[in-house]
Subunit: 264 residues, 3 copies
């Protein structure tokens, strides 16, 4: 039997908004340690990993490990019916082919339960090794989202270049070129507005803006985003979920061959 | 001659928004007692009744009973041109084939008059007898609107079941089932947030959500909605218009034969 | 070499929003006196003139007169990437076929530069003589925008009639007629809310609402709009840009022959 009670139900709604455009169907894995998901996007280019640790739930009961295949679009439809202040409980009986989402209003005057059919989904869990990164950038998540959106109006790819001074986002397209530099500024009043760079060696990598823009759907989950870059590894774009876990997106860099030709 | 002056002009704008998606053309009836309308929706399934009593108008002159056929979409286009604080006057000369809507800004610096052609519309006025209902539910109108909208993302019909404890709204669809229970709670701080149930006997009826959602376009007219249910009668969904009258929607229940089959 | 630094960068964003739907490609002319543009709309019916005087820039360097052909849609895409509080600098080297827009955030922590290709555009500069107008109406720009939008839901053209008492905007269409009168009211508390009429002789002219609605895209630039009317001249719809200049739209009146026939 599974029963996970999350007082801050709006968090689960935000998680769904962050994932549903990227992932269609996925297995949610429940164990004693937490509620998690790992899935490739539908075009098999990006990887998403979600973790909500058991300590973050008001009540967390998971008698045995359980993998529940869900259609994220349908799950999102149901969770949208929860009020932003509602307490959400996820329930499943052993061996059942359904999962129930229960929404309780703060006053307990309105109780909703939505039962969704589960699916059988083939998936293999990839071990993602902890790695050393050449550079790690922490910056305001809204700033990162704005930059990805702005550059998309000019080009299709973004070059992210990190030096000690700052991080540069560049693109080029038919109408021209764009460069946006964010300087390291750890001395701002509010820590969540800082841009902080940890760098072992300079790095410059190219990514598809389409995926970056999908990742920024997770912006409401966290004030800051952490971008970990290494020339031999996929970039990790991480949104921490306060006191509970994270959503992480992995994307391999593009190999640019003929990009340089168009440079003057 | 007809001259109806309504200080709270925004009210007439809200009435049009409540009706125009449901009713295309209709006769507005003016008499000494008030300004009213009764019309079937365009698919002849739901009935709408509007009453604005003469006492609610600042000035109300109606020399003889008059029935004015109007296209509600065109009328809505004109009323949208009134400011929210404007005073609206409806004017018609005897025998004229037009009606004039006059909008005066609060400062009287801007005066608009919109003249609209009237139409000949065949209609018969149905006598709607006062009836006894098995159960009458009064609840916040925004809550009812939210529930109808939420359930529409899961299924096409809603089962409304009333017991002494509360009212339950249920639906089922391809992706699963949903049940939302609102408990009777007459002891809230603000009376307009109460859910109050008057019940003679339990009742459980099924309705098309499409129509319910249309009815909730009247939500801006009133903080509360009253739902009157009886197994042999159409449901009445009523939005009171403060000190003036009401908009009432009537809808026959669906006869459910094969609904039960899919129940486990 | 050209370098124009505008502290209030949002102003340039508003100018682009005002022009881009009307004008596709145009030459921006830079001289010691200011940054200006004159262009016909793409259907060659309306004329637009923009002036931003050099005094309004924090820094203004223009070594020699320069005409830069730009696609306004592309320019708008780039300027949309500037934050509303950003300082915008326009830069061009002598003989270069590109222009650079630099955006600096108020904290200087984010610096963006967008480089756009210039175009060769044939254009002739029309001398617009200063003229005497029969009537000049100054009114709140938001009120004018609202009236043009409202009348568009009824008809395609607007008759603007000015008398000493006020200005009347009229239209007619399939569903009826509309008249909106704004009275002269120079004694309001806030000068920008006044409607002020300077009149030598009464005037009544007809214009295409489609163009008037395009002109009102400039509404965010100024609280007031000035409409200058004369029976032999195009109307001038002017939005002043505080301490810098203006955007002016010119539109020839329609000759109405058969309009009167439909009058009773």
């Amino acid at each position: 039997m599974l029963e996970l009670r999350l007082v801050q139900g709006s968090l689960l709604k935000k998680v769904m908004e962050a994932l549903k455009d990227l992932v269609t169907d996925a297995n949610f894995d429940c164990s004693a340690t937490g509620f998690s998901l790992q899935a490739m996007d539908s075009s098999h280019v990006a990887l998403v990993a979600l973790l909500l640790r058991s300590e973050g739930f008001e009540h967390y009961r998971c008698d045995r490990n359980l993998s529940m295949g869900m259609n994220l679009n349908n799950m999102s439809k149901m969770l949208k019916c929860a009020g932003n202040d509602d307490i959400i409980t996820i329930k499943a009986d052993d061996g059942s082919d359904t999962v129930t989402f229960m929404f309780e209003s703060p006053t307990q005057d309105k109780i909703a339960d939505f039962e969704m059919k589960l699916m059988d989904i083939d998936s293999e869990h990839l071990g993602i090794p902890e790695a050393e990164y050449h550079a790690i950038v922490r910056m305001p998540s809204s700033e990162f989202a704005r930059i990805c959106k702005d550059l998309s109006s000019i080009g299709d790819t973004v070059v992210i270049s990190v030096t000690k001074e700052g991080v540069k986002f560049s693109t080029r397209g038919d109408i021209g070129t764009a460069n946006i530099v964010c300087r390291q500024n750890s001395t701002v009043d509010k820590p969540e507005e800082a841009t902080v760079i940890e760098m072992n060696e300079p790095v410059s990598l190219t990514f598809a803006l389409r995926y970056m823009n999908s990742f920024t759907k997770a912006t409401p989950l966290s004030n800051t985003v952490t971008i970990s870059l290494s020339s031999e590894l996929p970039v990790v774009v991480e949104y921490k979920i306060a006191e509970m876990g994270y959503v992480r997106f992995y994307l391999a860099p593009k190999i640019e061959e003929d990009e340089e030709e168009t440079n003057p």
